[in-house]
Symmetry: C2
Subunit: 224 residues, 2 copies
């Protein structure tokens, strides 16, 4: 990894065209040739960049300035004109073991599948990732009366999720072996618009409490 602090201007021509006027920035060149241009603020996203695989060519000019040209196979080009270098160092980092995550949608689905009673007393899970021709339904349940319920789980419940569940319900209700199937939209947080749309379509909304679900899981583990 090479770190360069330099006064530079940057031009990108590819999926769009973009330009950065001259200013002092961090230029980060990774081992795979990818380049990140960072300013001293904003978020984790660079001002501009080139993703790997790509190649960097350094072309010194007569006037002492340098030009870096980073290209990839698709013909996208990142051109960096360097006026003044304030820092330049290289470092060996090696391969990173990578990030271990916990607590995303997949986890929510597992927890809810193990605690279907959160959705209603006497409810049970028929199966997770119930397959349909347009994709898998997160949970297929049966309520206390034995009626089928399709459950769509999201971390954040927005309008797209309601549309998705609606498509599943349309399809499943055409299957005489399954119909009638009702719907539950379950999420840690449900946006008002999504709730209105869901309820207008007769879909019940359930707000999930991740910590509570995890707690129930712990209790269950302790009991058995």
């Amino acid at each position: 990894m090479r770190l360069v602090i330099a006064r530079c201007s940057v031009d990108y021509v590819g999926r769009l065209t973009a330009h950065l006027p001259p200013a002092t920035r961090l230029l980060l060149i990774k081992a795979d040739g990818s380049v990140l241009v960072h300013s001293d603020g904003g978020s984790y996203k660079p001002l501009n960049w080139m993703s790997p695989p790509c190649t960097l060519k350094e072309a010194p000019a007569d006037d002492g300035t340098a030009s870096w040209v980073v290209t990839n196979k698709a013909g996208e080009e990142l051109r960096i004109s360097i006026e003044e270098v304030l820092h330049d160092s290289s470092h060996e980092l090696g391969v990173d073991p990578g990030l271990q995550k916990d607590g995303v949608e997949a986890h929510l689905q597992i927890l809810l599948a193990e605690n279907a009673e959160v959705l209603g007393e006497g409810w049970r899970v028929v199966r997770r990732e119930y397959p349909t021709s347009i994709g898998p339904v997160d949970l297929l349940c049966k309520d206390a009366a034995g009626a089928s319920v399709a459950v769509e789980i999201k971390r954040r419940g927005e309008i797209d999720g309601v549309e998705q569940l609606t498509r599943y319900l349309d399809l499943m209700n055409r299957d005489p072996l399954l119909a009638p199937v009702s719907g539950v939209f379950a999420a840690q947080e449900i946006k008002p618009q999504a709730r209105v749309l869901a309820e207008d379509r007769g879909i019940r909304c359930v707000v999930l409490d991740y910590d509570e679900l995890r707690g129930m899981d712990d209790k269950e583990s302790r009991l058995f």
Copy 2:
């Protein structure tokens, strides 16, 4: 901006929990206190990070190792344990003038509006961004026979775009002054699922050639 190359392990507890085992990485501390942890590969996204506004507290331990704790108002926490520092430098960058972009979807819309004949012979644009109560339709056209057509334009045509257009069509077809309104889903690239859904709903799919549209535009400019 402070650049630190160090052997470290990282833990994040916030919207999820995540852990990075010990390895050598770049720690980037921006002027606003935000922190980025980068490895020597991957894309522009850091392995882990804390977005501003946040505060960094450095707590030296007895055994020579240091611990950085970065927290924000929401109670999220990024904890970095540093075993060995290989590089540490600070730099004044100043405020960045920022990125100037030159559009994608907006540009597509302009080009298509100027070349409606791409959609069909004798077609004309009634207006761009035609307002409805649930949002603007990209293009409202009339075909050669004078029938109304709503056009949804995307760079990448996916299922969401079809849903969006469907909602517009449902609404517009309730307006007796407008109905009947048919739909066209236009994109540089249309995913198979989106195409199937669109055509199932009687929406025509049109793949746009950005370069060709631009070329037509040039020709037109030269003629007048």
